[in-house]
């Protein structure tokens, strides 16, 4: 579009076609000029055309530079998201290659040394790995990491931790519910037995009351209820 537009601008200074010629020629000239084939003498640019070519080059470089920054920024963010993982993965692949070759060479060439090492007991072979680091490095790195980490990654992490928290909360809730349910069941059982007991008592009281209706047994029944 820029080339097309500016070729039209340029031809205004040479409308009779005396210097360069038709518009199609100008299209090629501007095309050449924009892609740094800047040779003002060869195409004999006039005063007005020169002003416009300066504007064109500045504008074009600005637009292209901005586009570059935008594209780079996006891919930078993408790379940044997986920087730590992809870097250590790359390392692991390299380590694996070196280890595999070295082990093969040791197996074929220095089998005696290998056997010697294998004969050692586990206690002799095994040792502890000590790592000395600057204590402040971790926290600083974390802070900076957060600043630079892709936005998406932070959101992803947030969702992930949220999900985990929810899972834990849900499972604990489930356990609690189960417990409550068990307790309730126990309570219900207790209530049932209590009700049965009460029913039995009522039945007994009823029979006694029935007997009470019979006057001959009045004395004995009275004694019974007293007891």
């Amino acid at each position: 579009m820029t080339v097309f537009g500016f070729s039209l601008v340029f031809i205004q200074f040479d409308i009779d076609g005396a210097t360069i010629g038709s518009w199609s020629r100008y299209l090629m000239v501007v095309y050449g000029l924009t892609y740094s084939d800047f040779n003002a003498d060869a195409v004999e640019l006039q005063g007005g055309q020169l002003v416009f070519i300066v504007i064109l080059t500045i504008l074009l470089s600005l637009i292209l530079f901005n586009m570059l920054v935008a594209i780079m920024g996006e891919s930078f963010e993408k790379v940044q998201e997986n920087a730590v993982v992809s870097e250590s993965k790359e390392r692991i692949v390299l380590i694996k290659q070196a280890l595999a070759v070295k082990r093969l060479v040791e197996k074929t060439c220095c089998s005696r040394r290998k056997r010697k090492r294998e004969q050692m007991s586990n206690e002799e072979k095994r040792s502890f790995l000590f790592v000395a680091e600057e204590a402040g490095v971790d926290e600083d790195a974390d802070k900076e990491n957060k600043e630079w980490e892709g936005r998406l990654q932070i959101i992803k992490k947030g969702i992930k931790t949220n999900e985990e928290n929810m899972k834990i909360a849900l499972s604990s809730f489930e356990v609690k519910l189960q417990k409550d349910l068990d307790d309730l069941k126990g309570d219900a059982n207790g209530l049932e037995t209590n009700i049965r007991k009460l029913e039995g008592r009522i039945a007994r009281v009823e029979t006694i009351l029935n007997r009470n209706a019979d006057p001959s047994d009045a004395a004995s029944s009275f004694m019974y209820t007293e007891a």
């Binding site: 250590s88 692991i92 586990n122 095994r126 000590f130 000395a132």
Partner: protein, 412 residues
Amino acid sequence: MIKLFFQNQLDPTLSVKSSTFRYMIFNMFMHKDGDKVRIIRKYPKLIIYPYGYNWFHLVCLFSQDRVLLDEVINSKVPFILDSYGKTPLHYLIDLKDPSLINMVLSRFNEILDPEEDNFDLLQTFSDIFVPLIKMGVPGLKNFLLYFFVKPKVIEKEEMRLYVNIKDKKLKQIITDPKPLLRKEIYDRVLEKSQGDANIISIKCIATPLDYHPLSDDMHKIIDTLVGSDEADLLGTKVVENLIDYNWNHNKGFHITLGLFLTAYMVAFSFYATRPNALFGLEIPLIVLIGIYALFEMLKMISTGGISDYFADVWNFADIGMIVVHTATLIMTIINGRNQLLSAEGAGYDQTEVNGTIVLTPSTSTQSKLDAINWLMAFSVFFGYVKWFSYFRIFDSTSKSFVNSKRKVTFIF
């Protein structure tokens, strides 16, 4: 009986009789399913002597039931060593059931208190540490947090002040047979500062492993990590330091290779630009590329076959480079590029233009020259692609972005 027999297979180191006996004990306490949960809840601290088993061991050994294992963890049954010096995880790893192991590992913070000193207990994991990593379960990340701890300090031995890590490095990794922070460790790791002292923390991986660079332990760990896609696992301090340690020991290999290739490419570049002056350089070049091809063959065999070899994209560059370079060098030797280029050769036509004799290459000479030129161009291209790939091995160029104050941002 069949069940009894099956249970006996679990621990082949112990006699059948004793194993059966223990199984009977387990069932004596837990004859009904409902009872098991209730009994565990009521007596979480029960220990059976002389075996030293608690519920955790018994469930891992004989039950392998998710519900029971869940109950054991919920009831805070202590995670301890039995009389054989084994933890419940030792028994669980023999079963090779990733779901049960994942359950224990992912809830490890409920099982062990991170605030307490678990160093002695973690030391016993040396036999199962590598198999556990090989399991590759998601809970591993949670579990590994326990393993990067402060080593024990000998009485009255305090952290040195006004010190720096040796050789001005950001990190120093060493191995030592004893997990004690003492004078020798300080001497190996620290040096007196020149006025820019920092607070240094020395930590260690709490379980002893075979840290010989070519040992099986290291080989298995790296092999597992190559196939792992768990970003969180690679981010844990233990794995990060294991990778760093192995990298320190294998870096030299790649640097040597890189130097070899650099020397070759320099010689080849000279030869490609001035074939007349450097006549005869083809022979040493073809020897060098032969050595490199042999090495690649070795790499292919040791990484375990063609499919594994081509899993790494950079290996395509290796093969491409070797094939094209060999073809080019053989072509130049057979046809003699310098002879083709020198106008005195037989393949030139003589024509007389304006009284002077002009030599132009005949059609056959021209086609040969064209072929060699094309091959040469591809050789240089593939050579530099391969050479370029060696920038992976340096810290400053391997990272797309280095997150540290001292280092420079580098987009590559």
